[in-house]
Amino acid sequence: MTAAVMPLAAGELAAFGKDPWWIILIKAVAITVFLLVFTIFNVWFERRVVARMQHRVGPNVHGKFGLLQSLADGIKLSLKETIKPKGVDTILYVLAPIISAAMAFVAFSVIPLGPEVSIFGHRTPLQLTDLPVGVLFVLAAASLGIYGIVLGGWSSGSTYPLLGGLRSSAQMISYEVAMGLALVAVFLYSGSMSTSEIVGAQAGGSAVDIFGVTLQLPSWYGVVLLPSFLIYMIAMVGETNRAPFDLPEAEGELVAGFMTEYSSMKYLLFFLAEYVNMVTVSALATTMFLGGWRAPWPISLWAGANEGWWPLLWFLGKVLVFLFVFIWLRGTLPRMRYDQFMRLGWKILIPVALVWTVFVATARATLSAGYQRQFFFGIGAVVIVVLLLSFVYDAVAARREKAEEVEREEADQVEFDPFAGGYPVPPMPGQKVPGLEPAAVAVAAASAGAGSADSSGGAGAEGAGQQADSGEERGRG
């Protein structure tokens, strides 16, 4: 059976591995330089866009539009004194940021940036190298990147970095699973794990015959496999530790997470790794779901859109859209709590990804076997059954909710012990604080006694706020 598929793969990838050494070197250096410059640009871009969202101006002094600001910051940072605190494990302490940055760079080497172009008269694809298992290579590089974080946290010999490193690695492994599962549907459609073949597979849409009407399917997997795309988008934000999933860097809890004890060049490398990782996951998303370097619809009508150096522009444009989404999320959403974050990953993303994969596989099998009509009837039947079940579930859940509400009202009478376990603790939701009236009365009392001492009024308002919070909590539960 491999005879049927292997020659195709060999033919597709034959263009690679034939480059002379100087072309390879040029491409490797070019990608490194590109990622560095792009990172400098991204830092500026992020600061300007976030400033815009917050009605500020952002950096605007150095260079046109402040473009040189992040370059200046980078140079300043790399010239800072290196502080190596007591108790660090020197070798691992130095190795950790290098691993982090190197893995972010290496993953980019299999991303196709364009079709064959001519460099100094030599025709070569705009992609450093292509592997038949390219996507697996990217995932493997990402999982090695976790070591940079674990080791950075551990080798610092300090509490905050250790906790930050553990948190961060637990977060990344949770979302890497969702990321991998989201990609399975793409492999199912393209039948390949090579990035360039996946881009090629998105070149033209296939036609589907539904009840005698021929429909031209869109060619981007981001449209055809929308749930996969959404899961991947969420997972990529979690994987790069960006807001709203930037828990490893939660300043209020962990100072700066695993990089608390880092300074100067080593800190810069972690910083660089974070931004390059953002670019890498965005580039992978572009490749897997948005047709890679191929021109988007209105431009693709122009015949020369997918030739020469133009595709590089389309590719960069798509990556920039993803980067804008990253920044937009940061400007919009508050940071999630760790338990919410884990719940999202393990209870929503992974099960949904698994079910979706099963669905796509079944759909592929039935459709390719020529059972279109049966397939759509099957979907209809499943949807109806699920709807019915959800109605029944809702009815049962509502009844149980009412019963639990009554029960909880009784449980609310639990007395609050301000020194439970020997430490002063805040009241838990549902615990009654002695000496404080229910919210409405407390507010009324506070406003009525506005003339009295400030301290008591403040305490009353605060207590009211707490009561309101716990009420909300109850409503959600």
Partner: protein
Amino acid sequence: MSTVRVLFVLLGAVAVGSALLVVTTRQIVHAALWLVVTLGALAGCFLLLTAEFVAWVQVLIYVGAVVVLLLFALMLTRAPTRPDPAARTPNAWFAAVVAAAVAGVLVTTLVAGFSGAVIDLDRAEIGGARVTGGAVFSTWVLPFEVLSVLLLAALVGAIVLSRRDVPNRPRDAEAARDTEPARDADDRERSSS
């Protein structure tokens, strides 16, 4: 392909050398990291033998997942940041004998099974995803299905071992400490519905 051969021998030496360091180092976290080097070198060997899918799986699963699991387990010990005096025990000699015996059995099995096999690296089929998938889903289906049962059993075991520290609902934890039977009743009620 003599370069490949030289690299293969070098990587093999790295794998064996770092494996020895795994069992001799006093810092338990360093031991885990030497294990990373061993497994990475092994992945390099697979890569040289044109089994690229297996090589990257080796990196993703063993280096990326299993050793991370090991590191998390090490962090559960009391002091993973210092050299552990308990890392050296009088049982070391016995352990060495057992290890040598296991290695002997494995090497004998391999030599008996594959001593005549020769891979022509110039012409060998490249073990990409399709080739590996073809082999797994046409020839080796039973081991693949058995593996899922093994994973399930190990997962259940890990959960049972750690369950006492993980109460069912955070909000119940406080109440459960005082009224343990009440929580059990709650559990039963929810699992029956």
